[in-house]
Amino acid sequence: MSTVSVSVTVNGELRTHEVEPRVLLVHYLRDVLRLTGTHVGCDTSNCGACTVILDGAAVKSCTVLAVQARGGEITTIEGLAAPGEPFSAVQQGFHQEHGLQCGFCTPGMIMACTALLGENPDPTEHEIRHALEGNLCRCTGYQMIVNSVRWAAEHPDGIVPESSDAASSAPSTQGAGS
């Protein structure tokens, strides 16, 4: 079987491998690079769990061939903050506002939200919901995710204000329900 040489920059590091053309980007990331933070939820292009950022745009990596990413720059969930480093604003937002329950959709959700804030740093609730149409969550009911993105928009450096220490142990439910 023929292979092609694929060079991609993943989380800032140039990686080169011989891969079969039929290998999906998500399998390249998970099985070849062992970056298993990117999940496969549906494998039918619907759920968004496999979302990564390719050349600045959110894509479903189960629907992109690894060869199609040749020469590109990819950011996966592992690339947002190194172990021991502070969370990115979106990660911190999910932490502060309880944007996850089981966590399965979370890597894809966080990448889609990161791409959204890159384009629109101050989205309305409606814009957030519209931008997340391609990401399914079976647990949260989405309201906490919307709150998490708003938190990140309001704290673009991801730093939790000192005065809200109390709030972080009892997360704000502002805007939830109703």
Binding site: V4, S45, G48, Q68, L116
Partner: protein, 274 residues
């Protein structure tokens, strides 16, 4: 789900793509891959060779050509959706591109891929029909231009023949004319159960999504619009010539009902008065 093995070659220009096709038996063009890759994963489609045209940058553009706007076939939905030139002169096209799937899909899928795929459930073919677009097709024998009304020939089959490329789509400008798109689906990212595209102005057009085996131009309703008939009279004839099918989402009768209701809503949205 993993596709059957295939070889991969990358085309760098239109000529190169055509030459690669001539060179390789059983090959297919790969654009954004957002119809082809899912079908290959399901093993509904296989091919010995994929010719990647997704990197032919000379086919990605949105250009003002005076009386019309030309869009390169490899232009992504995302760029069509965000184009200020299209927003000004072809609001329907920009809006419909923004109704395709979800942001991740729009970041990869291309206008040409959506049209050549020819899915009756797809959004963009209806915009091309309602707007009276022309399709520029290039093959070994040269280039020809096919009107949108003659482009969709059968289920998932268009006027683009084996080894031919759709290179450009030309849309007559509709500056200042009213338009509307009414898409009915149950979940945000889904394909339409039925949708109706309406363009008012000099050559008004109405096109329907998912009302038969091909994207459908509603000629009787478009003629009624041109004649200035009341909205209800336009809606009455909108399903003429359609052959909608029954499936898990809707019966034929329900689809026809939807098409009429969505036509009335679309016309109301444009402020149309006979």
């Amino acid at each position: 789900m993993i596709p059957v093995s295939f070889d991969y070659v990358e085309a760098t220009s239109v000529e190169h793509a055509l030459a690669l096709f001539a060179e390789h038996d059983d090959s297919k063009f790969l654009a954004g891959g957002h119809s082809l890759v899912p079908m290959m994963k399901l093993r509904l489609v296989s091919s010995s060779v994929l010719i990647d045209i997704g990197r032919i940058t000379e086919l990605s553009y949105i250009e003002d050509r005076g009386d019309h706007i030309a869009v390169g076939a490899l232009t992504r939905h995302r760029e069509v959706e965000g184009s200020s030139l299209l927003a000004e002169h072809l609001g329907l096209l920009a809006h419909v591109a923004g109704q395709v799937g979800d942001p991740q899909v729009r970041n990869r899928g291309t206008l040409g891929g959506s049209l050549v795929h020819g899915d009756p459930a797809a959004d963009l073919p209806s915009a091309a029909l309602a707007l009276g677009a022309s399709m520029v097709i290039t093959g070994a024998g040269g280039t020809r231009v096919v009107p949108a009304a003659e482009f969709f020939v059968n289920f998932l089959e268009t006027a683009v023949g084996d080894g031919e490329l759709l290179t450009e789509i030309r849309f007559p400008k509709r500056t200042g004319d009213g338009w509307a798109y009414q898409k009915f689906n149950r979940r945000a990212m889904d394909y339409a159960i039925v949708a109706v595209a309406v363009q008012l102005g000099q050559n008004p057009g109405i096109a329907l999504v998912n009302m038969g085996s091909t994207p459908h131009f509603a000629s009787a309703a478009s003629a009624a619009l041109a004649a200035g008939s009341p909205a209800s009279a336009v809606a009455d004839v909108v399903v003429e010539g359609t052959e909608a099918w029954n499936d898990a989402n809707a019966t034929r009768e329900y689809r026809e009902h939807l098409a009429r209701v969505l036509t009335i809503r679309a016309l109301a949205q444009t402020g149309y008065t006979s």
